[in-house]
């Protein structure tokens, strides 16, 4: 642990002790107050100041983004997908059932009309094809 190592750390981590790895804190404490150490830290501090000038966008994350993220996942909810799959099968089943009923109804002989029977009688009605 010497001043060269102190210099290397300052070049990598800057002038603040908290940014140095814990394993190098003792090294920092040993040289930080020396004249040579002060000069090294002052040099590192200039780069720190430059880096500090970057004002990251600290504004709140937009609510719209938050909602979009949540909605996007919700749209992929497995339960919802299962429900959607069930809905598809249900619709298909209803349509098929409808066709089947319609087809069987069309083939069935029509029921005799009670009013025609009353006027023409059962035989005549069959004869006129009602």
């Amino acid at each position: 642990m010497d001043i060269d190592r102190f210099h290397e750390c300052a070049q990598a981590y800057g002038a603040l002790r908290r940014r140095w790895p814990e394993s190098a804190h003792a090294l920092f404490d040993r040289f930080a107050t020396s004249e040579e150490g002060q000069a090294i830290l002052a040099e590192a501090e200039r780069v720190d100041h430059f880096l500090d000038a970057w004002q990251a966008d600290r504004s709140e994350a937009p609510t719209a983004l938050e909602q979009a993220i949540i909605a996007r996942a919700n749209g992929m909810h497995p339960n919802r997908q299962i429900r959607a799959r069930h809905a598809w099968w249900s619709t298909a089943a209803i349509i098929l059932l409808g066709f089947a009923l319609g087809f069987s109804q069309a083939r069935r002989e029509p029921a005799p009309d009670p009013i025609a029977q009353m006027i023409f009688g059962p035989t005549v009605q069959r004869g006129v094809g009602l």
Partner: protein
């Protein structure tokens, strides 16, 4: 709040998210969206790109919660997810991501002696954006995000010594390029 309490909350939320609990997921998003956006913003630069990356990152959380190992801190794990997505983003845009060698920055002379804070900030952003991706990532993680040496090295997949080297070279490149602004 004690950091371990914070971790416990994340752990519980992730367990619920693994069961596809949408409310827990919403809470997790609210807890971590701000820093995730800040970190990715520092990495990729443009806000719309950062928002896309973060959205994809959270989707990975939703889809991968069941595979998440509870012994890992959520934040550390999510940093890695976001970092990997940033790398994907760079590759998709033709930015080399594995260059470890020093790249000199564009050394346009600056004649601006009195820069406003926003201009200065923009200059730093540009200077960092001109660094090789891994040097930039090392600086963002260690300097801005203040991740520990071990955590940052783990995220980047390098040894702690290699991380120190990335940091040194990154800072040296900045110093060389922006000497006129260092006063």
């Amino acid at each position: 709040m004690d950091p371990s309490d914070d971790e416990d909350i994340d752990r519980a939320l992730m367990a619920a998210v693994a069961r596809q609990d949408a409310r827990a997921y919403a809470t997790l998003v609210r807890r971590h969206l701000a820093w995730a956006l800040r970190f990715v913003g520092r990495m990729v630069g443009a806000r719309p790109d950062a928002e896309d990356v973060v959205q994809t990152g959270f989707l990975r959380v939703w889809q991968g919660a069941a595979r998440w190992e509870p012994d890992a801190r959520f934040r550390t794990w999510f940093y890695r997810v976001l970092y990997n997505l940033c790398m994907d983003h760079f590759r998709a845009h033709g930015v080399p991501t594995d260059a470890l060698d020093d790249t000199l920055l564009d050394d346009r002379p600056s004649n601006e002696d009195q820069l406003f804070a926003r201009q200065r900030s923009e200059r730093v952003r540009q200077a960092l954006a001109a660094l090789p991706v891994r040097q930039r990532a090392a600086l963002v993680l260690r300097y801005y995000e203040e991740r520990s040496q071990a955590e940052a090295a783990g995220l980047l997949g390098v040894s702690e010594g290699a991380l120190e080297s990335l940091l040194s070279r990154g800072r040296a490149a900045l110093k060389k390029n922006i000497g006129d602004l260092l006063h």
